[in-house]
């Protein structure tokens, strides 16, 4: 098992260069996030990984198989969930799964059992016999996920799986993805909802204008932290800001305000930890102390800064380490 290996893959559509010499790896047993702005080439890259689109240059290995050379073998190994489920209009959810299973060569009785099992897994049991076209967007996403899992794939490619899902379903999806990784499967997931992604991914790959960019430099730059004193409200905003600025020895103009909380810039996590300690030691009652942006979001936004991006594109590198320890950003609402 080698997971996904993408080596200098390029693809253009006419004069539009969708993916430029992208190189990345997604390891088995880990969830890898594919992050990038709209039009960065995420879907094109996933289509190439899903053996539907041939790269113009470069090589792809899906669990050791090159989809350009042996598409069928690759397809048996990979499960692909597109960003929008194309549902056969007059089939029910159950028939959608059994038909897909049959197309993977699964015999009829096994296909029926598999459909029941997967619909249960994604929480569509009650809608199993409704036509797929009447499902809501979120329910279609669940059906799409069930369809991608029908042949028990070792490599999962998920394009925006969380869009349209309600909070409960998102938590279920997260648990599901973690359990796939725990079973040793490779999971590659693209998403715009970065705070969501951050909770589930082990690694992140940043794609900007078709190129994989190294996000590591983004980590060292400062970011804003949100400090909330116990019982904070809008009327007390100025008093709180003054208190925090005073304690940390910062000019009050450098502090921001956000829904009753105070925004403080720290250069690093160490600086933030020191700041928190001095606030607590000064006797301030802190009810919240967390990054105002998720780490991925922070990196993502600095990637879109053209000046920063230009400097970075010179030094392309394969996958980046997780941007920050997950505990530090867990939900952002945890009390300190």
């Amino acid at each position: 098992m080698t997971g996904i290996i993408v080596d200098s893959v390029s693809r253009s559509f006419g004069s539009v260069q969708a993916v430029r010499s992208a190189t990345l790896r997604a390891e088995p047993g880990r969830v890898t996030g594919l992050v990038g702005p709209n039009g960065a080439g995420k879907t094109t890259l996933l289509l190439m990984l899903a053996s539907l689109l041939a790269p113009d240059a470069g090589t792809i290995r899906i669990a050791g198989v090159d989809p350009s050379e042996n598409a069928l073998a690759a397809r048996r190994l990979l499960g692909w969930m597109p960003d929008a489920l194309g549902a056969w209009p007059s089939l029910t959810a159950r028939e959608t799964i059994t038909t897909t299973a049959r197309l993977y060569g699964i015999p009829v009785p096994d296909a029926a059992a598999r459909a029941a099992q997967l619909l249960e897994l994604v929480g569509l049991r009650d809608l199993a016999d409704s036509p797929a076209k009447v499902l809501s967007r979120g329910q279609k996403q669940k059906l799409g996920l069930a369809r991608a899992l029908v042949h028990d794939p070792q490599v999962l490619l998920l394009d925006e799986p969380a869009s349209g899902l309600d909070p409960e379903a998102r938590i279920q999806l997260r648990t599901l993805l973690r359990s796939f990784a725990a079973e040793g499967r490779t999971v590659l997931i693209s998403s715009h909802i970065l705070s969501e992604l951050e909770e589930v991914v082990d690694d992140a790959v940043f794609l900007v204008a078709g190129s994989v960019v190294d996000a590591a430099p983004g980590q060292s730059t400062g970011r804003a932290w949100r400090v909330r004193l116990l019982g904070a409200e809008a009327a007390r905003q100025n008093a709180d800001s003054w208190q925090v600025a005073q304690t940390l020895g910062l000019p009050i103009e450098s502090l921001g305000a956000d829904r009753g909380g105070v925004l403080v810039g720290f250069d690093s996590e160490e600086a933030a930890a020191l700041g928190l300690r001095s606030l607590v030691q000064a006797g301030l009652q802190i009810s919240e102390f967390a990054p105002a942006q998720s780490a991925l979001e922070h990196t993502f936004l600095t990637l879109n800064d053209p000046a920063a991006a230009a400097a970075r594109s010179a030094a392309q590198a394969p996958p980046t380490a997780p941007p920050s320890p997950p505990a530090a950003t867990d939900n952002g609402e945890a009390g300190a």
Partner: protein, 339 residues
């Protein structure tokens, strides 16, 4: 390629149709139409000895007409319709090969054409009660009808894989099919009428008293249309292929007994170049026109050429669509998204 996958894909395609009410309404209307046609056909052929053969030929031609009229709508968006609905990629990413998908789609389109034939079976059976039908005629005409159904289905599926937008591919399928059925007829008629040559004709002159002068000839020239130059255009017409390929039965006077034979006679007559004609009122010899049976016997059949042309068109379009649908895709039809 696997038979099982082709079957699953064809069934997937047909399920969409079988679960729509409109489809049954269409078949119902076709049944009512055939009922009317059968009744009228019995009236038309009531003078003849071979009523059954005549009615049978009309019902088969009706089925072909319906296939030509309706099939393009049902097969002309087989592939790009799925692309639009994002269901094509869902099948392509499974273990089903491009061949499975193409042949499954074709099988579904052909099955749709067969549905019309199945509705027509009771009427074909009734027509046989009229008597006079020949087993070889029945067999060959139905066989040709089946081939024509496959050809029209392949043209539709082929164009749906080559053209990005369903609307355009359906329209183009109609154009191609109409080109074969109506276009050939228009070219034949216009071409034949546009190219005229002078033909000499002779007859005996009459004097002022209205008495025939048997000692001299009066010669005059007449421009006649030359359909013999353009008759081959009709060869690719599905109705002509059906008529020309089916063996013709003749009655005692040498006239064809069914519609197949009558269409065949029309095309074969067009093959004959105009001949110099003379009317000799002084001779007792009766000028004998050749019987239809003799005309057909003395002219060349063209159905295999026409069918060959059709198969070439349908096969070419189908093969083109096949290569365009192959994955991992190198080139996409302009303006398409894979998913």
């Amino acid at each position: 390629m696997s038979i099982s996958n082709i079957r699953i894909i064809a069934r997937l395609e047909l399920t969409q149709r079988l679960r729509s009410v409109g489809w049954y309404v269409l078949l119902g209307i076709f049944g009512v139409l055939l009922l009317g046609v059968t009744v009228l056909a019995f009236a038309v052929y009531s003078w003849a000895d071979f009523v059954g053969a005549g009615v049978f030929s009309i019902v088969v031609n009706m089925v072909l007409l319906l296939v030509v009229l309706v099939s393009p709508t049902l097969s002309g968006n087989a592939i790009n319709g799925d692309r639009d609905a994002a269901t094509l990629a869902a099948v392509q990413v499974t273990a089903a090969s491009t061949g499975d998908i193409m042949l499954g789609k074709l099988a579904a389109a052909v099955a749709t054409g067969f549905a019309f034939l199945i509705v027509a079976i009771p009427f074909l059976a009734i027509s046989l009660l009229g008597g006079g039908a020949n087993a070889v005629v029945l067999l060959v005409s139905l066989l040709v009808l089946v081939v024509e159904i496959i050809v029209v289905a392949a043209i539709g599926v082929g164009l749906s894989g080559l053209i990005a937008r369903p609307l355009f591919s359906v329209a183009t399928t109609y154009l191609v099919v109409a080109g074969l059925t109506i276009g050939t007829l228009v070219v034949f008629a216009l071409g034949g009428l546009a190219v005229r040559t002078d033909v000499e004709q002779q007859s005996r002159p009459y004097d002022a008293n209205g008495i025939v002068d048997c000692d001299s000839w009066e010669t005059y020239t007449q421009e006649v249309p030359r359909f013999d130059y353009v008759w081959w255009v009709l060869a690719a017409n599905p109705f002509v292929v059906l008529a020309d390929a089916t063996p013709t039965e003749f009655n005692a006077d040498g006239y064809p007994v069914d519609m197949f034979g009558q269409i065949k006679l029309g095309v074969r007559t067009a093959q004959q170049p105009p001949v110099e004609q003379s009317w000799d009122e002084c001779s007792n010899e009766v000028f004998e026109y050749p019987t239809p049976e003799k005309i057909i016997a003395s002219t060349v059949p063209s159905w295999f050429v026409g069918l060959g042309v059709q198969i070439l068109i349908a096969g070419g379009l189908f093969a083109g669509a096949w290569s365009r649908t192959r994955t991992p895709a190198k080139r996409l039809p302009p303006g398409t998204r894979i998913a």
